[in-house]
Symmetry: C2
DNA sequence: GTCTCTTAGACCAACTCATAAAGTAAACCT
DNA sequence: AGGTTTACTTTATGAGTTGGTCTAAGAGAC
């Protein structure tokens, strides 16, 4: 008669307690930086004994390292603990429409190197993508001198929806309709693989290291060629039933409005997507076949100078205001981070105006509770965000590091600090 | 340098293990109905010994009761356990614009009785509301013969936003702007109080007992005089930063469109709210000053008969389709439940058409993954939903029952089963 | 140079909880 | 009446946290 699926009836054992406390300490060190056992105890609420105990495990696993002592004025000096960055290498991959970008990081997500591979013009074949990633990782490991460090895992951000119920990738822009990329990569690389939509990984990068820092409820608005959003609720990415939540670009804001490339009408993207802006600016100035990015940049420079730009800017700001209003009313975030190349290109000139229109389209209280800011990481943080997927798994304790490689760690570390 | 607030650094102790497992067993019994220890062990994955142990605690607390045995063919028969409904009384309150409805339930949320109190026409004074609730509860306890059973708590659904960061209620429709209703009620009643927006409590009622059963990601669309939504993500109500998430009625779907009563333009509510539909139908048929509900009902009957209704119905369906498309694209639910008196009145005639328009405004895959269904509980389940807030607290183990009252329970039970 | 004070961290007994296996209870069957 | 089957309970064990006590390590005072 009632709702059983609503139930969360997972059994919990004492082991889960340890995992949770390990995770709490690791997160504290990762996000808060190096600190002593004593501080860890204060901040987590755990007793000193437990901290000593858990830290001993983490030291043995090589996940955490002691990094000198703090000066003290009387009394035994505190030993500083930090994430053992050199313990393993984390790879982040950005699968774009024409190229694959592979970046290597240490466990603290400091970048060790990057490689680009072109994978064809319209719709890269999955096999090519997989092979390119494998090859680029090998190249990176050689170049960065981290041959000896084990790979902790590979995170992938792909422009499309990754359905986590069936592990298939769907992407109109690269012509994939149900590609089992996660399985293919796992077979090829034989290390843990985490995949998500690129907009979501970029969003997570902004949340961890960019303009989203400190917010627990935030939306990262991705204004690029397409338009999307990554919504974070209580620090967690909101995925929905089949992880396609956040398709903000295709929220209708004008019933019966302009045709969108998705086949619908009146989508936000049809007004504020890079392709739409470029199209309209070309129409406005009567021509030119310049590339999308050039055209949008030219439009940005013309704002405040060319009256034709003024009209388009005002309209664009109003439509973006409506789109932001939707985010504010439906998600009630404390912050909206504007990212993506269009957002970063036009943001400085348009953001104030967009805020004004958002005020008009959002309810008063939620609008007053939100701040709208520009992203800080640039448009290329998809790979970094993808790497955070792996690190998140490690911090949560559901992704184990491979054994070994620990001995070489100190040597590797010198090599990397160039 | 990085994001500390993102961290979830709560310490976990062995006590939490017990709480979690208690909660798992209680949820199993509440949502799945009465069953034996053995079944509980299988379904939760806990060992038999632990189930015995935890159940012993629950029996001692009076939260669970043994209810006879199952027939067996050889072997010791299974003892059936059930939620001890008569252990305590749970109160659900619906604070509307002109009246307060107070309903009493047992712990299994079977209704024991209901009382209505008028509290003034435009904007009831908070003091009057609080006093009415207190008085109605006393009356209910007398009438239902549950004087002896302790009150577990009071849940309240109020038409407005309840900011859980400051505990204040904001509601334009009843003219409250920062009323500390939770604190006032706690002082008056001296038992636990849980408050939330009425649309959200109704949504939770549909999720627990209505058309939302079995779904973990769902949106309950509330079409009444106003328009709102309660979104559930992974079984949990989505609240946002200050619990005003889900203000779907004021999502702009027509930039620069019709004026809404909220002061903005082009809101969904301006097309699909009860007040808007009534207004437009009166315009269409040229007059009449009938009440809103009568007018909407008349419009519903005219669909398919009167060509003037046809035009309005088609337009309404398209705007609702755009609104549903927004829900589908942004939240990717597996189900949308249409509730509220307007939704239930017009739903049967309009739902197919609305689905068609939703298909046009939503992305293909998320649309294919969602089902749009009518609510099952009627428009008056706000109080029931409010009571679920209290029961949820008990099931989660963060709301303790008062001591005593246990002895009388069996007697009370007879009295109630009338 | 030694003593004392202070502080960090390690160690240990007590307690909580889940598990698994052995034990007991309650039915039915022959 | 005894055997069999099944459901539940008890017990021993191991994992984990807590809080008190002990030791290590530095600073300052005499």
């Amino acid at each position: 008669m009632t709702n059983l699926a609503y139930t969360r009836a997972r059994r919990v054992t004492v082991r889960d307690v340890r995992r949770a406390n390990q995770s709490a300490l690791l997160r504290q060190l990762f996000f808060g930086g190096a600190r002593s056992r004593l501080e860890l105890a204060e901040q987590t609420g755990l007793s000193g004994g437990t901290v000593t105990n858990v830290v001993a495990d983490l030291l043995a696993d090589g996940l955490v390292a002691e990094a000198g002592t703090e000066d003290s004025d009387g009394g035994r000096p505190r030993t500083i603990l930090e994430i053992a960055g050199a313990r393993a290498v984390v790879v982040g991959v950005d699968v774009g429409e024409t190229r694959v970008r592979v970046e290597a990081f240490d466990l603290g997500l400091r970048k060790l190197g990057a490689e680009d591979r072109l994978v064809g013009v319209d719709g890269p074949a999955p096999e090519v993508v997989v092979a390119s990633i494998g090859e680029a990782i090998s190249a990176l490991r050689r170049k960065a001198g981290v041959d000896g460090s084990p790979l902790a895992g590979v995170g992938v951000g792909v422009s499309g929806v990754v359905d986590d119920t069936d592990g298939l990738v769907y992407s109109a822009s690269i012509g994939w309709d149900g590609v089992p990329l996660p399985a293919m990569l796992r077979r090829e690389l034989e290390i843990p693989v985490r995949i998500d939509n690129g907009a979501k990984t970029l969003g997570q990068a902004e949340m961890w290291f960019g303009a989203g820092r400190g917010a627990r409820n935030a939306a990262v608005a991705l204004l690029g060629t397409g338009v999307g959003a990554a919504v974070f609720a209580d620090g967690q990415l909101y995925r929905g039933a089949h992880s396609s939540a956040g398709e903000w670009g295709h929220a209708p804001i004008v019933v019966g409005g302009r045709a969108c490339r998705c086949g619908s009408r009146g989508c936000l993207e049809g007004y504020a997507g890079g392709w739409a802006i470029a199209e309209r600016w070309r129409d406005a100035i009567g021509g030119g076949a310049a590339g999308e990015e050039q055209t949008v940049t030219a439009f940005g420079r013309a704002i405040g100078v060319d009256p034709r730009a003024e009209a388009l800017a005002e309209e664009l700001a109003e439509h973006l205001g409506a789109g932001f209003g939707t985010l504010v009313n439906l998600f009630n975030p404390e912050r909206i981070v504007v990212a993506g190349w269009v957002g970063l290109t036009l943001g400085p000139a348009l953001l104030d105006r967009v805020r004004d229109h958002t005020r008009a389209y959002a309810l008063r209280r939620p609008f007053e509770q939100v701040e709208i800011v520009l992203g800080e990481l640039g448009p290329d943080a998809v790979a970094l965000g993808a790497a955070t997927l792996v690190v998140d798994g490690i911090l949560a304790g559901d992704l184990a590091l491979p054994r070994g490689g620990q001995r070489r760690a100190p040597a590797v570390r010198e090599a990397l600090s160039v």
